[in-house]
């Protein structure tokens, strides 16, 4: 009897938490279908009757912000940066773990050190340097992300490389593999679970990052990313179109939820692994 009561109570609490977690999402979803003048007056009413405006907010918002184009650039920058990070930092981590000199030790220390430094410390000088090197464009962004992500990625890969037994690599070398072939055919396949973890952490960070693309690419180019566009929509015009804002928030969250549903197991595992190591 007591057990049953406890069970029911537990479920009640869990359902209450579920409501709290989902409420903000339903709030913007419902309001995205309401006329913009009703949002502030009747924010918690359902979008029915004369409140309902169909997809008007969506079409308005898309025209005003160019969110679809931003989604394209967000996607491009995220995928290319994460790809570069996986490829190059796994190689670097492998090299730094296998070649033991004072230089490689110092370099490894620098990578780990960079994880501690807050972005504000380098933001001004980095943007200046990026300008001189002509990196203030989408491809340049990817190179900058390779540099910013290198610390955590090298650290995570290096932790795993240490646990790979040397014997299998030695066997490959005796069979005539050069270090590159050895890395591609023997080491990297073993690193794959770590690569998935690293990829998920980097994708989440780059997709959601606001300050770096805002400072490097800015608002007056066609290469804006989603967070930059959302910030512009609210930040620039005093007379906000709240309907459009709601619709654009919904559209920004949608791809994340789809991505999450598609690979939630990897995401949760990856984030936990990253947290424990970082």
């Amino acid at each position: 009897m007591r057990n049953k009561l406890g069970k029911t109570l537990t479920y009640l609490v869990l359902i209450a938490v579920t409501v709290v977690v989902l409420f903000p999402l339903f709030f913007i979803l419902l309001n995205s279908f309401k006329g913009k003048f009703f949002i502030s007056k009747q924010p918690f009413d359902l979008p029915v009757g004369n409140l309902f405006v169909g997809l008007e907010n969506y079409t308005n918002g898309l025209l005003k912000t160019g969110l679809l184009q931003a989604a394209g650039w967000s996607f491009f920058i995220t995928v290319v940066s994460a790809g570069l990070l996986i490829l190059f930092t796994s190689m670097t981590a492998y090299y730094l773990t296998r070649v033991k000199t004072a230089w490689t030790n110092a370099l490894y220390f620098l990578f780990v050190f960079s994880m501690v430094v807050p972005f504000q410390m380098v933001m001004f000088t980095m943007v200046d340097l990026a300008g001189k090197l002509h990196l203030r464009n989408p491809l340049g962004m990817c190179i900058l992300y390779l540099g910013f992500g290198a610390g955590l990625c090298v650290f995570m890969f290096a932790g795993f490389v240490k646990s790979i037994p040397m014997e299998i690599e030695e066997a490959a070398m005796i069979d005539g593999c050069n270090p590159l072939q050895n890395f591609a055919r023997v080491v990297f396949p073993v690193l794959r679970p770590t690569a998935v973890t690293v990829a998920i952490l980097q994708v989440m960070w780059i997709w959601n990052d606001y300050l770096l693309p805002y400072l490097v690419i800015g608002v007056s180019t066609p290469y804006k990313t989603i967070p930059v566009v959302i910030q512009m929509l609210v930040g620039t015009n005093g007379n906000k179109d709240m309907g459009a804002l709601m619709a654009m928030l919904v559209l920004s969250i949608l791809p994340i939820i789809i991505f999450y549903m598609a690979c939630q197991k990897y995401i949760i595992e990856g984030v936990v692994a990253g947290a424990v190591k970082g």
Binding site: V13, F148, I230, Q231, G235, L249, I268
Partner: protein, 281 residues
């Protein structure tokens, strides 16, 4: 083997190292140097010694106020997030059906970025406050509470996952033994479970601590420091000094160095705590 690998330095290390120099190494060194200079661009720097640091701490700069706000917010956020996350984790380790569903839903907010999240909450909080004729920027207290709510919404699910992993690793025999010895549920919790998950608690406290302390996007989106910069956190204050006040770039850079030193101190503290724990085990 090491010798052949060494020849491949340009392939294995150079691409990462070049990108790393562009984004971090060179800007970091320039940044430290420029904190002692007066400048508006990197090219026109003039050495001024410690005057930027003195200015950074002067009353008009709001750096001290931003520090207090950040510290207070961090304290409240760390405590509430970890207590809530631990309680939810306890509920979800009772081997009930549907645990996986709840876990998946609770974790989801963590994936949404700070800007999008900040505006979602701003709209919702304003919708409530509107009924009383005010908005989130009418009173700094609203901004503070809003930030705490938002941060909890985003991070409780994340910390919960780490606590669940910790709780699942507590050996079942240990809990059974306690129960046979007549321990109440409370005693089992405080004398067995919590001591056994101390490593998870350490990780979670430091994760929430550094995330809250360095918060920027959420702060910018929710209130942008309004009213009167009273809800401005450290990261936003530094940003504001760099880009909001011409001629104050040196002061901004000096503030950034101070910010970096505080963050580094937190990390060192974490390392010390973790290492001491490892020795004990």
């Amino acid at each position: 083997m090491e010798k052949t690998l060494k020849k491949y330095f340009p392939v294995f290390v150079l691409p990462t190292l070049i990108a790393f120099s562009f984004s971090f190494l060179i800007p970091f060194i320039q940044g430290v140097y420029l904190s002692f200079c007066n400048f508006t661009t990197v090219g026109n720097a003039k050495w001024v010694g410690l005057s930027n640091y003195k200015l950074a701490f002067s009353a008009g700069e709001g750096f001290g106020r931003a520090f207090l706000f950040t510290a207070a917010f961090t304290l409240v956020a760390v405590v509430t997030i970890n207590v809530l996350a631990f309680l939810v984790a306890l509920l979800l380790t009772r081997k009930l059906r549907g645990t996986n569903f709840f876990r998946t839903v609770f974790f989801m907010p963590n994936l949404i970025g700070g800007i999008v999240l900040g505006y979602t909450w701003q709209q919702m909080i304003n919708a409530v406050l509107h009924q009383h004729g005010v908005t989130i920027v009418s009173d700094p207290t609203y901004g503070f509470i809003g930030l705490v709510l938002l941060m909890n919404w985003q991070m409780v699910g994340y910390m919960m996952i780490i606590y669940i992993a910790g709780l699942q690793n507590v050996p079942g025999e240990l809990i059974e033994a306690a129960q046979i010895d007549g321990a109440t549920a409370m005693q089992t919790l405080f004398r067995v479970k919590i001591p056994m998950v101390m490593p998870s608690i350490t990780i979670c406290i430091f994760l929430t601590l550094s995330n809250s302390f360095k918060l920027f996007d959420q702060n910018l989106a929710l209130t942008a420091g309004a009213p009167m910069k009273k809800t401005q956190m450290l990261a936003l204050n530094i940003y504001d000094t760099f880009y909001g006040k011409n001629g104050y770039q040196g002061v901004g850079q000096a503030k950034a160095v101070v910010f970096f030193v505080i963050v580094a101190a937190i990390v060192v503290a974490q390392l010390l705590v973790t290492r001491r724990k490892e020795v004990e085990q």
